[in-house]
Symmetry: C2
Subunit: 410 residues, 2 copies
Amino acid sequence: MSTSISPLAPKHVPDMPDVAGVRLATAQAGIRYANRTDVLLALFDAGTVAAGVFTRSKCPSAPVEWCRAHLKNKARALVVNSGNANAFTGKSGRAATKLTAEIAAKAAGCKPGEVFLASTGVIGEPLDAHKFAPVMAGLAGSARAGGFHDAAKAIMTTDTFPKVATATARIGKTAVTINGIAKGAGMIAPDMATMLSFVFTDAAIAAPALQAMLKNGVADTFNAVTIDGDTSTSDTLMMFATGRAEGCPRIVRASDPRLKDFRKALQKVLANLSEQVARDGEGARKLVEIVVEGAVSKASARRIAMSIANSPLVKTAIAGEDANWGRVVMAVGKAGEPADRDRLSIWFGGIRVAHKGARDPGYDEAAVSAEMKKPEIFLKVALGLGKGRDRVLTCDLTKEYVAINGDYRS
Amino acid sequence: MSTSISPLAPKHVPDMPDVAGVRLATAQAGIRYANRTDVLLALFDAGTVAAGVFTRSKCPSAPVEWCRAHLKNKARALVVNSGNANAFTGKSGRAATKLTAEIAAKAAGCKPGEVFLASTGVIGEPLDAHKFAPVMAGLAGSARAGGFHDAAKAIMTTDTFPKVATATARIGKTAVTINGIAKGAGMIAPDMATMLSFVFTDAAIAAPALQAMLKNGVADTFNAVTIDGDTSTSDTLMMFATGRAEGCPRIVRASDPRLKDFRKALQKVLANLSEQVARDGEGARKLVEIVVEGAVSKASARRIAMSIANSPLVKTAIAGEDANWGRVVMAVGKAGEPADRDRLSIWFGGIRVAHKGARDPGYDEAAVSAEMKKPEIFLKVALGLGKGRDRVLTCDLTKEYVAINGDYRS
């Protein structure tokens, strides 16, 4: 299995500032991997609130169920391990989750219900939570401000690069920080189906407002990214607000106009992290941006864009650098949304290849071929029916994807 | 591009009897392919009725629209070409369809509206219907009883073997014949997205009854097969009944008890042809049968089975001979249907690998591995919720699939 860094990895990795009220530590607990960190402990100052959005899977992992059940509690700690997803592990999975929270609560000096948990890695293998006991006190003792790059590394599974993003925003006269980390490769990781992301801020925002902003922010970022249409049992995006930015006014409602800049900065962090997930899709050689416009609604545009983004025929064509707009028509047609073949136009990389139900009269194969050789492919579909518009990100489907996912355990 | 015959091809190819009232001929019209037949003409005796089910695509091909519009007419001819799907070709596509019907009607001595049409091949390229003119009179002149094997060959695109099936049935005291031909490789063919199938019988059955039986028959056969979840713009299954079986009573209603044996035989032909389509999925090395039972309804079981069958992670795991039931759980979870992780059991090849939300205590890796090496994989999921049961067929997702679909035009 290739472990070389994706050619689509961001060229610039940002410096990550501290977030007041957040301390981090990583360790090697030996869950599955040798010679690398596989557990992250984040400690939060008293008063920290949490928000979270989770997988829509009907078979979620034990940690997802734990986080959902405790989301209204204050947050004092977050424990994330890689190597084992603790998913589909039955009663022993729930027991492992509880034990992990108890071990962390003891080390952090809080209640188990104030500890949030996420696990990523193999599904169906029992997680031996006792492995956390020997390292947890050391983690709590060594936790310090900063360390976001190390944190992003500790939660990786088949990711080829750690994913971090940061932004600052003003709330009133106070500058606050938003730091995020994520791991992919989304819903496509081999045994290791998990997309995890954690966002930390020192802003003082009440939990319901934080939850509302996070839920809203995810719609056009993480929920607008697909690798292969497969939905992880463990997808978790959590956000923690410590309120420790000095002088930050406490915001209670998401509709508070003072959140305008913060909301924008949060959106930027979420968009950045989710794009990195698409860039690190397994076997990906092309980042594909799909815009659908002229649909009857935004929701309709989303479904059509997702139908294109998840079509194996479209994805393999892009891997083959083939501007195969016939397959795009096919994917529009199968979406089940209103579409009129005779009004449909399609662009690859800004060049219109099909117009009003037929090949564009000015179609220039050479120009389109040049576009298709680029590492980033922009694909636009105009339906000509209404004002609905949406955008999703995906990657191509390569032989490496099949190799990674087919050869993994053999 | 490999053109070797699929290792999953049926070992036995049946002899195909004549169907009274049906005459066939094939020719080389040079639509796209050189040195092979690419056009099929079927002529039907007066009084022949037609039934058809077509793609659910919102962007269907011009021939699909033509057939739908004329389905209530009597059928005197069927023209099928390979090499060009005449899909997404706008007004010129509709004109090409009309011209083809006119050329065939002249040769057959009937009205254009009594000619049915299907095209398979590249999408978006204009179809030059004038190419049919020089060969059509010869086709009509040479049409003869029999020739079903040649007919199945003429409609192939990326299929690695021609697909035929036959059955006999009794209606009253009369023996009638049902012959079918099909081309795949279903919704996965490269530029050439088309699944076509044609069934011919000498039974005397009124069009509405024929239509009802065909629609009913397709639900658990062609509609229960998926290669990659991509839906062709051209999917066509048509059936023609000549009524020429000597002494055959004319049946008007689908509910007529005399159709019992015929219905069973038709089901057998449709199941056989659709299974051959799955066996010839592009790049396929494994035929995969998926049974879901214990769902809240048959429809729910179908959606869960399709979610498993279309999951790239499940399909690549099977290609890698990996009994990766964690991915099956993932696919159950993402289907959006009622499912309870703690009641879920999963079998590969008759061996239970997961039970009640966790790995089966008696899990034997060696025994399961031996099952996974077989060319036919049986995968069963029991949900433990109700009596809903369904079955679908698919194939694995291999590097060859990506190669065929990614490298095709490059």
